[in-house]
Amino acid sequence: MLRGHQSWEFANKPVILSTGVVGGPFEARGPLANDFDILHGDKWLGQDSFEKAEKKLLEQACEKAIEKAGLNKEDIQFFLAGDLMNQIITSSFAARTLGSPYLGLFGACSTSMEGLALGSMIINSMGANYIICGTASHNSSAEKQFRYPTEYGGQKPPTAQWTVTGAGVALLGKEGSGPRVTAATIGRVVDMGISDPFNMGAAMAPAAVDTLQAHFRDFERSPTDYDLIATGDLGKIGYQITKDLLAKHGIQMGDQYVDCGMLIYSEDQPVIAGASGAACSATVTYGHILNRMQRGELNKVLIVATGALLSPLSFQQKESIPCIAHGVVIENIPS
């Protein structure tokens, strides 16, 4: 049901029955390597193009989630997915393999939480028994589409981020054991006039701030109500801006505020300002954060996935970057 201006409260509390998290070689060297279900040593995944490799990542994540939940492909009513490729080919092609009824989403790097919020809404309103929602991204295919060829020796500025190679999906169900999705806040498009595609953190931070403020307002909550608040892929710069901007608006984010883009890689990996990409929030949330919830270290978390809604064409035409953020609350509820 609607809560406040732009939030949903899920009375039936859909359950995250299982997740599938797949990563590439660079993620395998990071501190969260143990939270992945499958890690690949080859960034091509044995495929002959990066786009096919990205599709494979998403397919494997779906297979893994279905296997872990002890279900069959046929049990899945709907598949909700999106990615960064033109015309979301990764998701559509993975949906072809999966064979489930499919809804394609595009929210750039915010797709993970867009999918989780919509999936929970469908389950909550009895529209399905089982839903898979997720997203994938591949470092090389994203570089190819949005920036320069991967082997091009151009220098990246200190604000640049590293796109995560991976896929993260969640299998939602009506009943069962697992963390539950209790609420979601849908973000508005915010554009603060940043037009540098190598500075996504600063472009997306205002969208994260807008959604966080809306969330706290709609639910009359404060940051201290959560054990963990994680933004999707703001990186070091966007994280600092978000924290300072919220403080300016009278909301103090404590130590429980983290950014997925700063968790997935270690300091000595050459990622410049941090990680980005649709798979960043998906792999960290569905892997690391849910594992911590299952161990009982966290009981109530708010994930705010941020996305930059630009296209390679729009930034070449000197358009600024519109951004969005969607927040989802995941809780451990004792049954």
């Binding site: 002959d48 193009s49 990066f50 786009e51 190819k144 320069y148 060829p149 991967t150 082997e151 091009y152 020796g153 151009g154 220098q155 990246k156 500025p157 200190p158 604000t159 554009d191 603060m192 006039g193 940043i194 500075n199 600063a202 931070a205 205002p206 710069i237 600092q240 801006i241 300072d244 901007l245 050459p270």
Partner: protein
């Protein structure tokens, strides 16, 4: 940002951009220049050594040795691109590895490798000059303008 671009932004946007700017690390211009100078200089030194090699061991003079020298440098750069080393060098060296002929070779080779999956004609052929194309176009235009200026000066009885 230029004042013209700034005019299009609202007050809130301008205020935010300043707020964000204060939290972004700046590029170290001096350090980047030093690195570019060292790497760019080293590439040129390597070129000089190759040139000397051709003059000493083969039948080339100072003028004719430049062709095999450039070909050798391009070969090395393409090989380094293929092995995935040149982009790491580029991130460290900046203009130092982008400006010499090796950078030009890298831009062509990297685009060719990248678009191999779309086939030889539309992929490799169509995208090879994606980055280098503008260098060629504006290089030719600039050369034409300079030649035009020179011709006019000569016609007017100058130098």
């Amino acid at each position: 940002m230029s004042s013209k671009a700034k005019k299009k932004l609202t007050l809130t946007q301008q205020e935010y951009q300043e707020f964000a700017k204060a939290r972004e690390p700046q590029r170290s211009v001096v350090f980047n220049c030093v690195k570019a100078f060292l790497v760019g200089g080293s590439i040129c030194l390597l070129g000089q050594l190759i040139s000397q090699f051709y003059m000493t061991f083969f039948d080339f003079n100072e003028r004719t040795a430049s062709n095999p020298t450039v070909a050798t440098l391009i070969f090395i750069a393409v090989l380094m691109t293929g092995f995935g080393v040149y982009d790491h060098l580029g991130q460290w060296a900046g203009a130092g590895s982008a400006v010499p002929v090796t950078g030009f070779a890298n831009s062509i080779a990297s685009a060719a490798i990248e678009h191999r999956s779309e086939g030889y004609v539309l992929g490799v052929g169509g995208n090879m000059f994606k980055l280098a194309g503008s260098v060629i176009v504006f290089g030719v235009v600039a050369a034409f303008v300079v030649a035009l200026v020179k011709s006019i000066i000569i016609q007017l009885g100058g130098f």
